[in-house]
């Protein structure tokens, strides 16, 4: 499989993992290894003096690059501060920008997201914004200097798959930066579809971490992303209304 390139950095894996929802760090570790991911998100939270073990130790042991997110932020101001704290704590200027509109849907707020993206780009961040499946917003964020765009397939944790494949295709068609399908993946075929639609990568967490067997599902997702990428590059046949014989007729 060809490399994924984001902001000049190469990744052999096109599966970006999240770490939320895993029942333990041991389970997470096995799932990360099975997924073969090279880039993995973490959230920033108040330090808990009683916490034992750290997700950072797992990522360090497996030599996986950390991608901090701004999950839990509702305003551009909160997201900018969280990104700056993540840069200080984790020595990375990469950020998955996530500004949520409300707790019920967890849908991204486009206005706050755009505002935060402009401020973070100006502050030297490599910004990967989580957005709705909106081609116009994706284009505006690319123009604002974002290093990738991350449209959702469906709401976070819903496992509903890709609700609007047509919009994802429109985003892919117009994008000059990587398109990373983020959120909504429920099972392997959803991840394969994202890649077949032309996405450059898939980011998922819940589908693996809350699966009955996270390690097995992580392996399934790895294969699905590879399959989808290969199928996209191979070029699928056009859909036809009627049959087309594959054996000679005469």
């Amino acid at each position: 499989m060809d490399d994924l390139i984001i902001a000049g950095e190469k990744f052999a894996s096109r599966l970006i993992m999240g770490t939320g929802g895993a029942p333990s760090l041991e389970v997470l570790d096995r799932a990360l290894v099975a997924s073969a991911t090279e880039l993995t998100t973490v959230a920033m939270r108040r330090l808990d003096p009683g916490a034992r073990g750290s997700v950072l130790d797992v990522l360090k042991k497996r030599d996986i690059r950390v991608l901090p997110n701004t999950a839990g932020c509702f305003t551009a101001g909160e997201a900018v501060l969280t990104a700056r704290l993540a840069r200080e704590a984790l020595d990375t200027n990469w950020v998955k920008l996530e500004v949520i509109a409300d707790e019920r849907t967890l849908l991204p707020d486009p206005i706050e997201t755009f505002d935060a993206a402009e401020r973070l780009v100006a502050d030297g961040f490599v910004v990967l914004p989580y957005i709705g499946d909106d081609p116009a917003l994706a284009r505006r964020l690319e123009q604002a200097g974002c290093a990738a765009v991350m449209p959702l397939g469906a709401p976070i944790g819903s496992g509903l798959g890709i609700r609007n494949p047509h919009n994802i295709e429109l985003i892919v068609e117009a994008a000059g930066v990587p398109v990373i399908l983020d959120a909504g993946i429920g099972t392997a075929s959803d991840a394969a579809l994202a890649m077949e639609l032309g996405c450059d990568a898939v980011l998922l967490a819940t589908a693996v971490t809350r699966a009955r067997d996270p390690e097995l599902m992580a392996g399934a997702m790895r294969l699905a992303v590879e399959s989808g990428r290969m199928a996209r590059q191979a070029g699928r046949i056009p859909k036809r209304h009627h049959a087309l014989a594959s054996s000679p007729m005469d």
Partner: protein, 66 residues
Amino acid sequence: MKLTINGAAHEVPEGITVAQAVRELTEQTTGVAVAVNDEVVRRGAWESTALDEGDRVEVLTAVQGG
């Protein structure tokens, strides 16, 4: 004087530094970032930055998420 560290009230000596406030919670210094009143204080400035009465100190680290 009184400070808020990660949302909890703390009674601390006058002139306490950011570094000392962090040590109220943890001995850990890597993987940790600090904001005082919503402004990041770089790690290199922790020892030299004194806190004032009523400051809101946030000490953050990375956790599973996303």
